[in-house]
């Protein structure tokens, strides 16, 4: 089962920083890792590796993912990370493909 929520655009900033590149502590020569995009939706889904909280930008590009031991833990991560910005959770029908998630969220949750 997949769960999805919108991240509202406000003056607030997410509590978690998602980036690409080795942490500065491991690779000080390269400077700070490059931040990933600003998320428009968050998606909880699962597979054999566990529960994942994925973030996607308004145009559907990946904006970070975290692993969790349960759906509740993933929701708690999202609530804390996007405190004051997170919308309601919605169960995503199986008929909605991954590349239509943002469109589905905009239509269903706005």
């Amino acid at each position: 089962m997949r769960y999805l929520a919108l991240v509202r655009q406000t003056d607030l900033h997410p509590a978690t920083r998602h980036s690409v590149g080795l942490p500065t502590e491991l690779e000080p020569r390269t400077g700070a890792p490059i931040p990933m995009g600003w998320p428009r939706i968050v998606l909880i889904h699962s597979d054999e590796s566990g529960i994942f909280l994925d973030r996607y930008t308004h145009d559907g590009q990946p904006a970070g993912d975290t692993w969790h031991s349960s759906i509740e833990e993933a929701k708690e991560q999202a609530a804390e990370e996007y405190d004051g910005m997170l919308g309601e959770w919605l169960v995503v029908p199986e008929s909605v493909p991954d590349d239509k998630l943002v469109e589905f969220a905009e239509q269903s949750l706005r």
């Binding site: 978690t16 998602h18 690409v20 080795l22 692993w67 990370e81």
Partner: protein
């Protein structure tokens, strides 16, 4: 030899001239590539041979592009240049050890795992190309031992299986496509291997030397990141003894079709929430 008409042709990946420059700095027309005299490069006496005939030339003798101006990547020593290493056609072996170590096969000087009929090795790394990540991870795990080593071994095996299951065996021909300059095939191969948008981001990061890491670099980094006494929370999820750092390399991460194979270096808050999450893409090179 340089004549009044001599110029340096700037070739694209496909071996086609895109532009040219005359000795006085004046830009030249790439379309003159078949008629203008080109500057001879060392060990190359027929530079025009490596210029793809223009449309309508009637020739089907389109030449391969191996990332070098010399014939079949052959340098002045007679060795065949394969981007990462030179291959000696006389001995049938590379002249330097495989830069990814035994991940490319137990014989670090061998060619195409001893199977040149079914495999090629355009990058001098290992065949098939996409399998390098999986093999490197698995071999690192086998060598390293311990909990992280075992996970690496399992993840590498799972990744290999995933590649086979997903039909990305085309990666072998994808590597060849890169070698011969078939841009369309190569782009498809890269998209399959790294994911479309993710690859764009990775290329950007490569400019600052931070986006890519080889499996070996990533796993060595993981040991430094976690320190002594780390524990495995779940398969592929490791947390430091003090609980503030986490390294993640699940099968999900390694087979991610959207972002490409990657691992995570994470910082964890006192309440267990992730507060920093650095993605590092794996690159077999």
């Amino acid at each position: 030899m340089i004549s009044d008409q001599a110029r340096i042709v700037n070739y694209n990946w496909g071996g086609q001239g895109e532009s040219s420059v005359f000795p006085n700095g004046q830009a030249g027309d790439a379309s003159l590539g078949n008629t203008a005299t080109e500057i001879d490069w060392p060990a190359l006496t027929q530079a025009q041979t490596y210029f793809t005939p223009g449309p309508g030339s009637g020739s089907n003798n389109a030449k391969q592009w191996l990332g070098t101006f010399v014939a079949n990547g052959q340098g002045t020593t007679g060795m065949l240049y394969r981007r990462n290493r030179y291959f000696d056609p006389n001995s049938g072996q590379f002249t330097q050890a495989d830069p990814i170590g035994i991940a490319g096969g137990m014989n670090a000087f061998g060619f195409a795992s001893g199977d040149p009929v079914n495999f090629s090795d355009p990058f001098g790394l290992c065949p098939p190309w996409s399998g390098c990540i999986a093999q490197a991870i698995a071999n690192w795990g086998a060598q390293r031992g311990g909990t992280l080593g075992a996970l690496a071994l399992n993840s590498g095996a799972a990744l290999n299986g995933a590649f086979e299951a997903s039909g990305i065996n085309d990666a072998a021909s994808g590597g060849e496509a890169l070698g011969r300059g078939d841009i369309k095939a190569a782009a498809g191969f890269l998209a399959l291997t790294f994911g479309g948008e993710a690859f764009k981001g990775a290329k950007l990061l490569k400019n600052v030397h931070g986006g890519f890491a080889t499996p070996d670099e990533a796993l060595r980094g993981a040991e430094r990141w976690l320190g002594e006494g780390y524990q495995e929370l779940d398969k592929g999820v490791f947390r430091s003894k003090d609980g503030i750092r986490q390294f993640r390399m699940t099968v999900h991460d390694l087979t991610d079709s959207k972002k490409g194979a990657h691992v995570h270096f994470e910082s964890v808050g006192k309440d267990g929430k992730v507060i920093q999450n650095a993605h590092v893409y794996l690159n077999p090179e």
